[in-house]
């Protein structure tokens, strides 16, 4: 795609959101493609959120949480991992292009990694040929 992609990012309050903050305060440069939504935990992200985001016009979706073992709620990200694994397999089965829905673990100390993740995800979404899969057609323009 030619234009800058718009990626909806669900960042967990305790790790990835703080990691994004660190990337900012450390003045690390990364693409401005994310629209960040802060959630209490990666397990808060219902797979329905992901589909809804695609339907409402997100070119990509990133869900990011704490590393396994570091969850603020002890085990939320373990459950999240199982949920995302099943949902991602199902989405790929029905032909969702690879690279549109991504997951990552970023801790609060990993500002550099956060920037790398954003770059990687942005490049992945740029390579997607058809971002209109699951885009809801409305009577008015989606823009």
């Amino acid at each position: 795609m030619d234009k800058d992609p718009r990626i909806l990012a669900f960042l967990c309050n305790w790790c990835s959101y703080a990691g994004a903050d660190l990337a900012g305060t450390s003045r690390i440069q990364y693409p401005t493609t994310l629209r960040v939504l802060r959630v209490p935990c990666s397990a808060r992200v219902n797979p329905q959120f992901i589909l809804k985001a695609l339907q409402e016009g997100a070119d990509g979706v990133l869900v990011s949480g704490c590393h396994p073992g570091d969850c603020h709620y002890l085990e939320g990200n373990y459950y999240a991992r199982r949920k995302f694994a099943t949902m991602l397999d199902l989405l790929e089965y029905v032909g969702l292009e690879k690279g549109r829905v991504r997951f990552s673990w970023v801790s609060a100390a990993e500002g550099g990694k956060f920037a790398e993740v954003v770059k990687e995800v942005t490049n992945g979404v740029k390579e997607v040929k058809d971002t209109t899969q699951f885009l809801k057609k409305r009577d008015w323009p989606n823009e």
Binding site: R81, L90, V94, G95, W105, K136
Partner: protein, 316 residues
């Protein structure tokens, strides 16, 4: 009448007359030879209404849900998949085991109206002669053998016998080799755009009547996500992405719960290939977490538990 019918009637009669149950849920004849309806027998005189059907792709465990809060003791006729559904319901505390008397049936497999419609066309009358069915269609009479009328889930079934039962009727069925998911694996090999087009094409047939949801014993939420208006997860209407997302989320909610009974697909008035999605979900759960719904009464549902070493190759 088949020997299974006789055996089911005999067992039902026994439990009813001994007063072990208040009523028995079983299969009854529908209004035509290709229809089966549930019957609720509470008197021994009515026992002849129980049959073992040919086109019996309904899941009787569904009817237990209406008795979640009643005091009745219930007898239920359960083929392999129905018994797995009962296990799934027990696991989710939907019903007490003490209240159930399960008449398990070693099921040789059912026939599907949907498949018959695909093979023969618009059917106006049907009759069986031995291992063949002859269908009178709008384009003349067609004969189809029973084997060709089996739906994909029965062909792939590896649990013909009941998982739990108080009494079992019928001869055990030899389970075929393999895990039965070859058709799904074959479909996975197709390129992604082709798979997506298939989804679009199948889902545009959906009319959102929710017959699939109503036919399914594990679709038992008090309020389904499509009916919720705040927040409104899926808009009303027949917009293609709404249709696809409704079916995808329904499938996702079946992860580790779907027993592959095929009741949803058989209930669909539009012939949408729903098992194409739910069977993939079953395969994912099986390959990722080594879990099969309704087989082990002790095992925790896969999305309600975790292992520290779960694979995470997809996570950056």
């Amino acid at each position: 009448m088949s020997s299974l019918t006789d055996a089911i009637r005999e067992e039902a009669k026994k439990v009813l007359s001994e007063g072990k149950v208040d009523f028995v849920i079983g299969y009854g004849e529908g209004d035509n030879p290709m229809r089966t309806q549930p019957v609720f027998i509470d008197k021994v005189e009515d026992i002849d209404k129980l049959v073992w059907p040919s086109f019996g792709l309904i899941n009787l465990a569904n009817y237990l849900l209406r008795h979640r809060n009643t005091p009745h003791k219930i007898g239920i006729v359960a083929k392999g998949c129905d018994s797995r559904s009962i296990v799934a319901l027990l696991k989710e505390n939907q019903i007490d085991r003490d209240r159930l008397f399960i008449i398990g049936v070693n099921c040789p497999g059912m026939l599907s109206r949907q498949v018959a419609r695909e093979k023969a066309g618009e059917i106006v009358a049907a009759s069986s002669n031995g291992d063949k069915w002859s269908f009178e269609t709008t384009e003349g009479t067609k004969e189809v053998s029973c084997f060709d009328l089996m739906p994909s889930n029965c062909a792939a079934c590896r649990h013909h016998g009941p998982v739990i039962a108080d009494v079992i009727v019928g001869d055990p069925v030899t389970e075929p080799e393999g895990d039965g998911y070859d058709d799904i694996r074959e479909f996975e090999q197709k390129p992604a755009p082709e798979r997506h087009n298939y989804l679009k094409q199948e889902m545009t047939n959906c009319i959102r009547c929710y017959a699939c949801r109503q036919a399914c014993p594990t679709c038992n939420c008090d309020e389904c996500f499509v009916d919720i208006t705040q927040p409104r997860w899926v808009d009303k209407g027949l917009e293609p992405t709404d249709l696809a997302i409704w079916q995808l989320i329904r499938t996702y909610h079946q992860a580790g719960r779907c027993v592959d009974c095929g009741a949803c697909e058989e209930a669909c008035p539009m012939g949408v290939k729903l098992l194409w999605l739910t069977r993939k979900m079953n395969l994912v759960v099986r390959e990722r977490f080594g879990f099969e719904a309704g087989v082990d009464p002790e095992a925790l549902p896969p999305l309600a538990t975790y292992k520290k070493e779960d694979p995470q190759e997809f996570i950056l």
